[in-house]
């Protein structure tokens, strides 16, 4: 592989990885705190992407407004799912997972209905269009921006996790629910906030990620699967785990596609199985 190709793949892997990180971080914390796999997480990403497209391209409005509205929409939908449905199935973990699967299905088909199945061309903010030229490499600015945004958000979330009171509460809740509740903390409200934040970030990722991943109705599943792999491999419950896993999977995906396209998918699922057997809490996750 030439040096240019290497750098290209590296950047592709990192930018894709950042989008995965945004998704996986929320998925991971919700899993750690509430014990649920939110299978609708990818669908939240997708809906935000559609809304973002509508605002930015269809209505021609400001790109960052689109990002904000997409994130808010995803957050609200997530809140609705949590308040209206998930919390009523208190402690029935199997049913909760099935429910989120149901919402994935509903949101996917709802999107098909509203926006029809046409493959949405990736849309780019005017400010982010164009590419850098470094030496022989032409690289889209957008991807760079995403990597930087990802790092900023990752730092912010890490700070939230380690240095704030709410982060400490969430971590305590993951370790020992009863004890935390016994300390008088309203874990119910914390869970709701966590779920909302996770959905919001997923929505944010949906509009940003659409820049180079596009928007289409199959995204709900297509983004969920790698996010699941990231959570398992990287480790659940921590930002570090999500970041580590996301970068790893992103790089495997990018280099895999370039070097052995057929094996990339296979490798990732195999990796997932091996991790589940050997170290279920993930490579960098909380020890459960």
């Amino acid at each position: 592989m030439s040096a240019e190709a290497f750098v290209l793949n590296l950047l592709n892997g990192l930018s894709y990885g950042m989008v995965l990180f945004l998704l996986a971080s929320g998925l991971s914390i919700v899993l750690g705190l509430m014990g649920i796999w939110n299978l609708a997480h990818g669908a939240l990403y997708m809906v935000a992407g559609y809304i973002g497209w509508t605002i930015a391209v269809h209505l021609g409005m400001n790109f960052w407004l689109a990002v904000l509205l997409g994130a808010i929409a995803a957050g609200l939908i997530g809140l609705g799912i949590e308040r209206g449905f998930l919390r009523k199935l208190y402690r029935q973990v199997n049913e909760q997972v099935l429910l989120t699967f149901g919402f994935l299905y509903i949101l996917t088909n709802l999107s098909l209905w509203v926006w029809t199945g046409r493959f949405r061309v990736p849309f780019t903010a005017p400010a982010l269009a164009g590419s850098f030229i470094i030496g022989d490499i032409t690289y889209p600015i957008v991807r760079f921006v995403i990597i930087i945004i990802g790092i900023i958000i990752a730092s912010g979330l890490w700070w939230l996790q380690e240095r704030t009171r709410i982060g400490a509460i969430v971590r305590a809740g993951m370790d020992d629910k009863e004890m935390t509740m016994g300390l008088g903390i309203n874990l119910d409200r914390v869970s709701m906030f966590t779920f909302l934040l996770a959905a919001f970030i997923a929505g944010f990722a949906g509009v940003i990620g659409a820049q180079f991943l596009g928007v289409y109705s199959g995204l709900g599943l297509d983004m969920l699967l790698p996010a699941l792999i990231v959570v398992i491999v990287g480790g659940m419950g921590t930002m570090q785990g999500a970041l580590f896993g996301a970068v790893l999977i992103g790089l495997i995906d990018a280099f895999g596609r370039a070097l052995f396209p057929q094996l990339a998918m296979f490798t990732m699922y195999l990796l997932m199985i091996v991790i589940l057997l050997v170290r279920p809490s993930g490579l960098v996750g909380r020890r459960i």
Partner: protein, 338 residues
């Protein structure tokens, strides 16, 4: 009251009560045997498809409803059975039913043998994920391995209906339907037996309290493993019939979407019951068919909505409500010694 006296009172029940208890089964059987020829050919196809998925759903319920094993990978067993038939046809020109069906069941069961060994090493939420990963792994195998694909396309097409080895016999839609019906009835009977056997009871015990079952002497790992293999075998049957029905199979049949179907049928119809999965399959297939004519785009959405509503507000499925209705009828006709 001694056991003998108990059996006496059961035998003395007024025939009306017994009739009402078994009526659903009798009516169902009559309907399945008599009705289909009166419908048009496409609808006969739907009857067939419904029976195939009823087998698939019932087998899924053995693992999910009875044993509490929520998995996202059983499409792999289904696909394994189907691909067996397809590969036999594609590479070996073998179309005989007497080779295909047993082999398909075997391959389905063997896939489960492997899956079970891996998946049962982890518990709870990780079990769900590992079955999902295993399922997608087989999907990627089916996608990538050239031997499993007709040259030039994804999947295998052009699979004919099975060769019964009877000279001069050729299939029609209705004759294929009755063929599937026979297999369905066989599977239904087997599931019924398993459900009511000591083994079946132990599964429900494991679902509700595994540590206790262990302390009673049950090797719970082995019981779970066995039921996974049984599920695999039945799913393999469904897969075989499915490929005969459609004449083709694609890698997507091994993916997570196919795992969704029996799940929703079981939830809708009512899990942990004999008729539940069958009712669920009937509703999904028949309503789905008509919906696809009138509102093809909205049907998946409606289905998703029904799924969510059922989970939230009617966790027992259709079956619970129907059986309550039936019980009330039974009580009207005399003292019901349950």
């Amino acid at each position: 009251m001694t056991i003998a006296e108990l059996k006496e009172t059961m035998r003395q029940q007024p025939w009306q009560v017994l009739l009402i208890r078994f009526a659903p089964y009798i009516l169902g059987l009559i309907a399945l045997v008599i009705l289909p020829p009166f419908f048009s050919t496409p609808i006969q196809g739907i009857w067939t498809k419904f029976l195939i998925f009823a087998i698939f759903a019932s087998s899924y319920d053995l693992a999910y409803g009875h044993t509490g094993l929520l998995s996202l990978g059983h499409a792999a067993f289904f696909g394994a059975g189907g691909y067996t038939i397809a590969v036999l046809n594609l590479h070996y020109g073998i179309d005989s039913l007497w080779i295909g069906l047993p082999l398909g069941i075997l391959v389905g069961a063997l896939t489960a043998v492997v899956f079970g060994l891996i998946a049962l090493r982890v518990l709870g939420p990780f079990f769900l994920m590992i079955t999902f990963a295993l399922g997608m792994l087989t999907f990627s195998i089916a996608w990538n391995v050239r031997w499993l694909n007709t040259p030039g396309m994804q999947g295998i097409t052009g699979v004919p209906l099975p060769d019964l080895g009877i000279p001069g016999f050729s299939w029609s839609t209705i004759s294929f339907y009755y063929f599937v019906l026979i297999i369905f009835l066989l599977c239904f009977f087997l599931v019924y037996r398993i459900m009511n056997s000591p083994f079946g009871y132990s599964l429900r015990g494991i679902r509700d309290g595994e540590p206790r079952l262990r302390s009673l002497g049950y090797n719970t790992w082995l019981h779970k493993y066995l039921i996974i293999i049984i599920t695999g075998a039945f799913a393999g049957v469904a897969g075989v019939l499915y490929v005969y029905y459609y004449g083709m199979i694609v890698p997507a049949h091994l993916a997570i979407g196919t795992s969704f179907s029996p799940m929703i049928m079981v939830i809708l119809g009512g899990s942990t019951t004999l008729l539940g999965p069958v009712i669920g399959a009937a509703v999904i297939e028949f309503v789905g068919y008509f919906a696809s004519i009138f509102t093809p785009e909205r049907w998946p959405l409606i289905l998703g909505g029904i799924f969510v509503v059922t989970i939230m507000y009617a966790p027992g499925g259709i079956n619970i409500h129907l059986s309550r209705l039936w019980k009330r009828l039974g009580e009207r006709y005399g003292s019901v010694k349950s």
